[in-house]
Amino acid sequence: MLTIAFDTATDVATSALVWDGEVLGELRSRPVGVLEDVDALLRRGGVRATQLEGIVVGTGPGSFTGVRMGLAYARALSLSLGVPVAGVSTLAALAAGSPGALPVVDARRGEVFVLDGEALVCRPEDVAASGRLLVGNGAVRYRVTFEEHGGEVAPDEDEAHLPRARFHAQLAQRFGAAEDVEPIYLRIPDARKART
């Protein structure tokens, strides 16, 4: 199966062209430019968009706007090309890139998204960091807090901190209707929160 995978949930977007498990190419860019990378990957691979058989998209959690961009790309491509879509959590893809590590994505406002059994949003000091290796831009941002709590964070420039689309492709299982692939926000909008 020839698939294109991408994730725009964090500041560094990732994309990969994967053919039956073989990674033909992987690139990183800004979320708004990820289609440039997708285009480059296809051209380098000598592949036309119409030959794609599946789309894999990172569903967050991360920047709300970034997550939505990825899903809008995926759903539009699915409509246009008539191919199915699979969604993969950004945290799960991070974890797949560093087996055993705790994936942590910066959620801004002094909080992080973390996948510890389940995906949740919490303050860095509430993450069970002790004795764990932490990866992701949230791990880098709150390195001091996590290290104080007995956690270990890979060096800042370690690529384990970045989502890599090859792992999204690897984790993708159920391909189906694009609209069934939903964004993972983990937070309700502030305006709603004020009412509940």
Partner: protein, 321 residues
């Protein structure tokens, strides 16, 4: 065929328009109900809804026009101004649709879109003219010289007039969106009952924050019972003040540049008193007053389209340059 997509505020819209300006379809999914409980558009809630609606709306626009993506030659999308998070949903979908088919993409300015609502069949209104753009997001006077050349003569210094309608409706305990609610209630009231002076600012600019404050004071002075009794008078007087300000400035603009023809576009162009107060002006057809994608596709006919792959990193912008 041109496929237009619009997601700048709280309407998710897609349309099919031909190069000649015939509307094949014009689908608008309004989110007004979703935002009603907040009395205004909540950007994050709007953006989430746009993502849910944008592809279904595109699919319906194609179906309604009896066409398919295979017939589309150009994708047009609102790039700004508006809510960036909301705009990016439409821009991303448009980029992906265009890229997958190697189509060109026309990034359209939302204000040009409103003006281009006048250029659609069956009764196109052609430049030159002076155009009043009055909506929830904008209040501007434009000198429209040609399809692709527009100069801003004046704009609001604070609230947009549509916002002034919404805020007034909230003060009067009416629903959202407020324009339609005030328009309906005003018919039962006396527009001369209250004096709500609109601030006169120099030049051709507008200011609506003062008139909103005078409505607030008037409402505060009344007991709950009196307010109930005089609500229609308040609505009528408030609407009269807003419309008068729009009409005066529009006439002044036309006189200043010697324009013989005047047009009114945008959501507030649907207001019955405004339409009646400018009987000689051309008002946009009612279905094209509020935000829609037919006007975006229409404007795209005079925009330099970006060929594949130059639009792949296209971003949205929040405010006018």
């Amino acid at each position: 065929m041109i496929l237009g997509i619009e997601t700048s505020c709280d309407e998710t819209a897609a349309a099919i328009v031909t190069r000649a300006g015939e509307i094949g379809s014009n689908v608008v999914a309004s989110q007004a109900e979703l935002h009603a409980e907040f009395g205004g558009v909540v950007p994050e809630i709007a953006s989430r809804r746009h993502l849910e609606l944008v592809l279904p709306v595109v699919r319906r626009a194609l179906d309604d026009a009896g066409t398919s993506l295979d017939e589309v030659e150009l994708v047009a999308v609102t790039r700004g101004p508006g809510l960036v998070g909301a705009l990016l949903v439409g821009v991303s979908a448009a980029k992906a649709l265009a890229w997958s088919r190697r189509l060109p993409l026309a990034p359209v300015d939302h204000l040009d879109g409103h003006v281009a609502s006048l250029y659609l069949e069956p009764h196109p209104f052609e430049p030159p003219f002076v155009c009043l753009l009055a909506s929830g997001g904008h209040t501007s006077l434009l000198d429209v010289r040609s399809h692709s050349s527009t100069r801003v003569l004046g704009r609001t210094l604070d609230d947009a007039v549509g916002e002034a309608f919404d805020k007034g409706a909230r003060l009067l305990g009416l629903g959202y969106p407020g324009g339609a609610a005030i328009d309906a209630l005003a018919r039962e009231g006396d527009p001369g009952a209250f004096e709500f002076p609109v601030a006169r600012v120099p030049g051709l600019d507008f200011s609506f924050s003062g008139v909103k404050t005078s409505l607030l004071y008037a409402v505060r002075k009344l007991s709950a019972e009196e307010l109930d009794r005089r609500r229609a008078d308040l609505a009528a007087s408030y609407q009269r003040a807003l419309v008068r300000a729009l009409v005066e400035r529009t006439e002044a603009a036309a006189e200043l540049i010697g324009a013989e023809r005047v047009a009114v576009v945008g959501g507030v162009a649907a207001n019955s008193e405004l339409r009646a107060s400018l009987p000689w002006a051309r008002a946009a057809p009612l279905p094209l007053c509020t935000d829609n994608a037919a006007m975006i596709a229409s404007a795209a006919r005079w925009v330099e389209a970006l060929p594949y792959p130059r639009y792949l990193a296209l971003d949205a912008y929040a405010s006018a340059a």
